[in-house]
């Protein structure tokens, strides 16, 4: 099967700072991949490049063979690390907005998840707590049948009980051949759902391996390995 995301020598400079510095990464379809790294290692920059929100300073990045653009946006479901939806809209309005925007959006799925999480569709986004806003954004993102899901810190602000539901939501809803790339530093909470882990360090891919193989080889959790590799 051909790669869903492919980067070669991917570099992004901000002035003299290298947010990404020659990153090489190939992701296959049908995987859940953890994008792990300390603050400032380039996680969000990589995800933004994949969405075409930034352009590379050097190197290449392709989604399903194409450079990020109009065609790839239809295949990529993106959850940014910040609020981005108009907050005066109700959850019902937002569901309509997503349906209009994305051909692969399933409103019934979104409604079902809102109900399971106890979110009232008549509520406006701005009336919700931070955690519930995050849940709303995640529900909308996961209700698409995308080829690639890019989730930037999807569980950072939600309580542990909802975290479990959200992980199950991710597992249960990504489309059959879809790949999920999720960035986080809450590794212990998510490591059991990962196929593969990618460690980013100072803008480069330090390690890209099967999560179970890594645990077997080192006899340690991914979380423990992360703490060793990135010990301050």
């Amino acid at each position: 099967m051909s790669a869903i995301l492919e980067c070669h020598g991917l570099t992004k400079r901000y002035g003299r700072v290298h947010a990404l510095d020659g990153a090489d990464l190939v992701l296959e379809p049908g995987r859940i991949v953890g994008l792990l790294g300390p603050n400032g290692s380039g996680k969000t920059t990589l995800i933004k490049l994949a969405n075409g929100l930034l352009t590379p300073s050097a190197g290449t990045l392709t989604i399903d063979g194409d450079a990020p653009g109009r065609a790839t946006r239809a295949k990529v479901a993106y959850l940014p690390d910040a609020d981005y939806l108009p907050d005066w809209m109700s959850l019902r309005d937002l569901t309509g907005l997503f349906r209009d925007f994305y051909a692969d959006f399933d409103p019934a799925k979104a409604r079902e998840m809102f109900a399971a999480l106890g979110l009232d569709e008549a509520e406006r986004l701005k009336a919700l707590s931070k955690g519930n806003r995050e849940k709303t954004q995640l529900v909308l993102t996961m209700s698409r049948a995308a080829r690639l899901y890019l989730l930037d810190e999807p569980i950072g602000g939600v309580d542990p009980a909802a975290r479990d539901y959200i992980l199950r939501t991710i597992i249960g809803n990504y489309s059959e051949n879809g790949t999920v790339l999720l960035s986080t530093h809450l590794i212990a909470d998510i490591e059991s759902v990962l196929d593969e882990v990618v460690f980013l360090k100072q803008g480069q891919v330090l390690l890209h391996e099967n999560a179970d193989a890594l645990r077997e080889e080192k006899g340690k959790s991914v979380d423990a390995i992360f703490r060793e590799v990135f010990a301050c």
């Binding site: 859940i32 597992i171 759902v193 999560a211 645990r215």
Partner: protein, 121 residues
């Protein structure tokens, strides 16, 4: 029975153990249809590919089988399940005896102690 995992061993071997346990205890009775890989994965909060790998291993050992259109089932071969139960039992006894040896108990002493210990109800 909950699905909790320790981080220091591959998730898939831990899944194999949990699934074997469910079959041995009858939580998944002989001939029962298993949920889909994805539903099982969601229930255990593990990756579907990892669950798939664990189920494939159970299939290799004949504990579950796949019927092309209908899904995956627990074996109806109760002898096979009984054999697994005995194997798991032996492993536990071996571990128990090893720990008792560490405490300085000989085999007969360990057995005697076990006889006098009231059973938990």
């Amino acid at each position: 029975m909950s699905w909790t995992f320790t981080g220091d061993r591959p998730i898939y071997t831990q899944l194999v153990e949990r699934l074997q346990m469910r079959i041995v205890t009858g939580a998944y009775p002989p001939g029962a249809r298993l949920k889909s890989v994805r539903d099982l994965a969601a229930e255990a909060a593990v990756n579907p590919n990892t669950m798939q790998r664990a189920l494939a291993e159970l299939e290799d050992t004949g504990l579950v089988y796949t019927q092309r259109t209908a899904g995956r089932f627990v074996t109806e071969d109760e002898e096979r399940i009984a054999a697994l139960r005995e194997r798991l039992g032996r492993e536990k006894v071996r571990r128990f005896l090893a720990e008792m040896r560490e405490l300085g108990y000989r085999r007969a002493e360990a057995a005697a102690l076990m006889e006098t210990e009231e059973e938990e109800t």
